[in-house]
């Protein structure tokens, strides 16, 4: 019995923690729930590492079947895990980051009265995410997909007493559901076309007997719609910034490192399908690129530290889709992994700042915190560097590979967008770091009470920082690193666009130079504006008037959605209800009323006068006589 055969233990451990904490947390366990959950997830992480090693050791494709979940007619879906390099890699990322976030949260949530609740939902999330990653078919993936959505809902709305988290939670779930609609269509159509939802079966049959391209295009567009919902791409991204209403560790784990990358995972998983789906991949690339630059521009002007990170996440997810779209799924996965580390770190660092600064999130009230919280500062600096794609930090390798792939695979415009967005990224990172940690304290009271977070929170930061530095080297040398060798079997399409042979260093260096130059330009501009006020940020914002307002208001997308869709939906519902009451029900009631009116009318024939009654009888006699006479003379049929 090897670790792969025991792969179900990985999700089982967090699930157990969920049950234990859920059943006994409120009454008995209370603060013991945190360690329990962390231990369970830690155990899962260890197992995941074992699994990874085994997969790396050559056991590249294993299905571990538990039981038949649904089987009706020709439709059969098992609860079965697919252990291959892709899922093994995801397992590591998910469990390790989750474990660190769990540990961190023990400190972060310590004084919250919903502590036990938090550590009930968090392992449930890990469980769902692991199902998503492990499922060997689209339906099981969908189960995890919805499960993480649920946990996201629960955790965004963790502080449900305030209206904003409750609303944000609902918004997240519903927007995700719009994407899920696409997922379901894609999933069911896949079954109709291939007769199975199993990844393996689908890809086998695709290879042996490819269906019409139109169908594939439909399926992939549908899946991609699902992915845009979950991974916060245009146009379904706007829930993610709002999701920052949740506790910061949640933002780190769910809305940066793991759940939001599920869309990337889905598309990467379905690479064989997408590769044959004609116009879908370019669409993915364009959506990814546009989302990247769109979100980055918004991030430029935000003052809430978590919102900056949120838009940054949207932007980075855009990069990943760009990678998928230009035919570099490994690069996408690579960036997914590195991003998991540095973005989780950025969020946890922000959390540490918020925690230390008395739950203040507005960067305008911070400043100079570097002195008060050095560990946080230095770790976040590393993460910021990684995000800005400064070599040799992790982000550099992965992002550069994406941008390079865009150029090399024939998307020069997208390459320009990618590079430019890199510059923007470096700028807003610099801006955020400076406003938070450097300069003069802008709120003395806040500054005085600020303090470094406890060890239980800082240690995870350090571990993540190490990851942010080192994770890039799994992809070294570029295009031919360990990760590429490991993942390529899983995401090979047969139409592989990855270059053969060794790394083309010249090409790499040339492209990297452009990227790094853009980053450095961004950093320089940022430093110049915020450290030296040259030009002064306020002046810039005044000068760029309308543009600035548009960015501050996030392109008015929320307003648009609210007015156009939500208001319209409510109005339509109101109309439908009025229709229900007045037309459908009204008709019924009017029918009853009509009968009673008819009865009232006929009543008047009952005059109470004997003479009238006798008259009716005689009139009836006349009528009967006429009818019988009709029969007698043969006018009426006998």
């Amino acid at each position: 019995m090897s670790a792969v055969d025991l792969v179900w233990l990985i999700p089982a451990l967090p699930l157990a923690a969920f049950f234990v904490n859920g059943l006994f947390g409120r009454r008995w366990l209370r603060h013991a729930t945190g360690p329990i959950a962390a231990a369970a997830v830690g155990g899962a992480a260890l197992l995941a590492i074992l699994v990874f090693l085994e997969v790396h050791g050559g056991r590249e494709h294993t299905t571990v079947r538990l039981y038949e979940w649904i089987g009706v007619g020709d439709f059969h879906v098992d609860v079965a895990a697919l252990v291959d390099p892709l899922s093994a890699a995801m397992l590591i990322v998910v469990t390790v980051v989750s474990f660190l976030v769990h540990v961190y949260s023990i400190g972060y949530m310590e004084h919250d009265h919903g502590f036990h609740r938090f550590f009930t939902w968090l392992p449930l999330f890990v469980f769902a995410m692991l199902i998503l990653v492990l499922g060997d078919n689209y339906l099981l993936l969908f189960v995890g997909w919805e499960g993480v959505g649920l946990c996201s809902y629960l955790l965004i709305g963790f502080w449900f007493e305030r209206p904003e988290p409750a609303g944000a939670a609902k918004k997240a779930f519903i927007m995700n559901r719009i994407g899920d609609w696409g997922f379901m269509i894609g999933m069911i159509t896949t079954f109709l076309v291939f007769g199975s939802m199993n990844f393996e079966d689908v890809f086998d049959r695709l290879a042996s007997n490819a269906p019409a391209q139109g169908v594939l295009t439909l399926i992939c567009f549908a899946f991609f719609l699902g992915a845009t919902g979950k991974s916060a791409q245009l146009p379904l991204y706007s829930w993610l910034p709002d999701a920052m209403e949740g506790p910061t560790p949640v933002s780190a784990l769910i809305h940066a490192a793991t759940m939001v990358t599920a869309g990337v995972y889905l598309v990467a998983r379905s690479t064989p399908l997408f590769a044959l789906a004609g116009p879908v991949l370019p669409t993915v690339a364009i959506v990814g690129a546009v989302t990247a630059i769109f979100a980055a521009t918004i991030a430029l002007v935000q003052f809430d530290i978590k919102r900056v990170m949120a838009y940054s996440t949207v932007s980075q997810l855009g990069y990943m889709f760009l990678a998928l779209g230009v035919g570099a799924p490994v690069a996408a996965m690579f960036h997914l992994i590195t991003h998991a580390f540095f973005k989780a770190l950025l969020f946890l660092g922000s959390g540490s700042v918020i925690h230390g600064a008395g739950n203040e999130q507005d960067m305008r009230k911070m400043g100079g915190l570097k002195a008060k919280m050095p560990v946080t500062y230095w770790t976040m600096l590393i993460a910021g560097g990684a995000l800005s794609a400064l070599p040799p930090l992790a982000g550099f390798w992965s992002k550069d590979e994406i941008v390079g792939a865009a150029f090399l695979h024939g998307y020069p415009v997208l390459w320009v967008v990618g590079v430019f967005t890199g510059g923007l990224t470096a700028f807003y990172v610099t801006r955020a770091m400076w406003l938070t940690f450097h300069g003069q304290p802008r709120d003395q009271h806040l500054f005085d009470h600020a303090h470094e977070s406890p060890r239980i929170m800082t240690v995870p930061l350090l571990v993540l920082a190490a990851g942010s530095v080192l994770a890039g080297f799994i992809g070294f040398p570029p295009d031919h690193g360990f990760l590429h060798a490991f993942l390529e079997p899983a995401v090979t399409t047969g139409h592989e666009v990855v270059a053969e042979g060794g790394t083309n260093w010249g090409e790499f260096l040339a492209l990297a130079a452009v990227s790094v130059a853009a980053s450095i330009a961004g950093i320089t501009l940022g430093l110049s504006m915020y450290a030296r006020h040259r030009p002064d940020p306020a002046a810039v914002s005044r000068a760029s008037g309308p543009f600035y307002r548009v960015l501050v208001n996030k392109y008015y997308v929320d307003e648009l959605y609210d007015r156009r869709f939500v208001d319209f939906g409510k109005a339509a519902s109101g109309v439908a209800w009025a229709f229900d009451i007045h037309i459908i029900d009204g008709l019924v009631n009017r029918l009853g009323w009509g009968f009673r009116m008819a009865g009232g009318g006929l009543r008047r024939a009952q005059t109470g006068l004997v003479g009238n009654y006798a008259f009716t009888v005689v009139a009836g006699l006349l009528a009967v006589l006429v009818v019988y006479a009709g029969y007698a003379v043969g006018i009426l049929h006998r």
Binding site: R26, Y67, E68, W69, I70, G71, V72, G73, F75, L139, F142, V143, E146, G147, L150, Y153, G157, F160, E161, P163, A166, G167, A169, K170, F173, I174, R177, I178, D180, W181, M184, I185, I188, T189, F191, L192, G569, K570, A572, S573, G574, A576, W577, D580, I584, D585, V588, G592
Partner: protein, 511 residues
């Protein structure tokens, strides 16, 4: 001989509530004793239904535990009972929901005329169980109508302020449909053979269904369909439902939503489809359209509901739309999905009404705007209610999903000779899944989240009795979501047979 020595389990299932009825009607006046009798009776019924489940042979498509005794030979009517995969789960669902309703009602929800209430409930149980067991059209009709009067009284006596309007509406709607069905049943009897060899026994009718001409099937299906469509209810025959639910006492709502609505879908599958394949084909486009309309319309109307019960009621319309859709796409996935959806909807919506009722008992408010922040005070309540809300919106892993998913799968597979096919209807129906999230979560947010009102601050969380009522439903909701195959194994062979009967090629060519 069965292992339990119960040769007539099905008859016993009908007799037990009747036996409980006798002391309630004639001997016992004390409220406590009344409640005890009712609880014991319904519990015995529940146990017996589980015994029945244990005697059922999984994998067989035909009727099991079959019983048949002539009843009114003059009308070819016999007392014929049997279960197959279609009904075998609906019966325990019924007995469980009845037990829970009685249990909950005995906890103080019903304060006046307890004896009459319990008597009505036991009579109702006879009707409900009988509907799912009867294999004779006439007997089915009798049970179908037998459900009517007790529910009429339950809503009318123990209901809310507009109870009379609601209960009359409920009865008149139902009667309008069912009386036409009665005419159709008699027409079927007359068409079933030459005088002397006529019958109303379902197995015999199915065997001899070649006698039903296409024209005949067209009209008779219409009559059956109307009755079932009203009972379901399908749009546009649904307007009795919100009123009835809003006014009904909690136990009445649970059973109304949980069981009575299922009689419609059950009737379609049990009688209309296998007996009238041509009628089915002829009406198929209309029914598919109405189903999808119900899914979307029910959901859209639910969004703006101000009354909690009305919202759940309209959501039932949408959920029942999935049931009819699954039935009329005429494939195994759709049909199995429809039955699962019926069972799940029974548990989930029953539970939702239970919780709305519990909440109403405590706060005396049902307007969503009057509530809010209840999650602060009632963690237990919130957890239970939340799970049921999630199950209702079709979250995978809970029971609601499997049925809806199978129905959608079946819908996508739907491939008619003419008219729009599955790729048109499927995505439309799937929008209903989004909308379910919209109205349910918005409701949940407004009711449970936010700050709690001063008036509700001291209200207690769930009592042990209420937990006891909810736990079985919760367990079933979760288990049926995780191990749906356990239920599907019961259901599938019979449904496959029904679908085969309904799509029998020899009937389709009649067009």
């Amino acid at each position: 001989m069965s292992p339990f020595g119960l040769d007539h389990v099905l008859t016993l299932l009908i007799v037990i509530p009747l036996a409980g009825l006798v002391p309630l009607l004639f001997f016992i006046r004390d409220d406590r004793a009344v409640k005890q009798v009712a609880i014991v009776t319904t519990f015995a019924e529940l146990i017996l239904s589980i015994v029945m489940l244990s005697q059922f042979h999984i994998g067989e498509a035909g009727y099991q535990l079959h019983e048949k005794v002539p009843w009114i030979p003059g009308l070819g009517v016999s007392y014929e009972l049997g279960v197959d995969g279609l009904s075998v789960l609906l019966v325990p669902m019924t007995t469980l929901l009845t037990f829970i309703s009685v249990l909950y009602s005995s906890g103080g929800a019903i304060k006046t005329r307890v004896g009459e209430f319990m008597a009505a409930f036991l009579l109702l149980e006879v009707g409900m169980v009988g509907v799912f067991l009867a294999l004779d059209l006439f007997l089915f009709y009798v049970f179908f109508e037998l459900m009517l009067v007790p529910m009429y009284l339950i809503i009318g006596i123990w209901g809310g302020t507009r109870r009379v309007y609601a209960t009359l509406k409920f009865v008149l709607f139902t009667l309008a449909g069912s009386l036409l069905m009665l005419v159709a049943i008699i027409a079927v009897y007359l068409a079933s053979g030459d005088p002397g060899s006529r019958t109303l026994s379902l197995p015999e009718l199915i065997a001899g269904r070649a006698r039903f001409s296409a024209d005949f099937q067209f009209w008779v299906f219409l009559a059956f369909g109307l009755a079932f469509a009203i009972k379901m209810p399908m749009v546009p025959f649904h307007t009795w439902l919100p009123d009835a639910h809003v006014e009904a006492p909690t136990a009445g709502s649970i059973v109304l939503a949980g069981v009575l609505l299922k009689a419609g879908g059950y009737g379609f599958l049990r009688f209309a489809l296998p007996l009238f394949p041509f009628g089915t084909q002829a009406w198929l486009p209309v029914l598919i359209l109405l189903s999808v309309v119900a899914i979307l319309y029910g959901a859209v109307v639910s969004v703006v509901q101000k009354d909690l019960k009305k919202l759940v009621a309209y959501s039932s319309v949408a959920h029942m739309g999935f049931v009819t859709l699954g039935i009329f796409v005429l494939n195994a996935q759709g049909a199995v999905g429809a039955v699962l959806q019926m069972v799940n909807h029974g548990f989930v919506t029953g539970a939702l009404f239970l919780f709305v009722g519990i909440q109403y008992e405590k706060t005396h408010r049902r307007q969503i705007a009057d509530l809010g922040g209840l999650a602060n005070r009632w963690p237990l309540y919130t957890t239970f209610f939340g799970v049921f809300v999630l199950a209702s919106l079709g979250l995978p892993g809970l029971s609601g999903f499997v049925g809806e998913f199978l129905v959608l799968l079946g819908t996508f597979k739907f491939n008619p000779a003419t008219g729009p096919g599955g790729l048109f209807w499927g995505p439309l129906a799937a929008i209903g899944v989004i909308l379910a999230a919209v109205y349910l979560l918005w409701m949940f947010q407004r009711v449970m989240f936010g700050t709690v009102r001063e008036a509700y601050r001291s209200l207690p969380d769930l009592s042990p009795l209420e937990v006891a009522c909810a736990v079985p439903l919760l367990l079933l909701t979760v288990l049926l979501g995780i191990f749906p195959q356990a239920a599907i194994a019961y259901i599938e062979p019979s449904l496959a047979r029904i679908i085969a009967l309904a799509t029998d090629a020899s009937f389709v060519v009649l067009k």
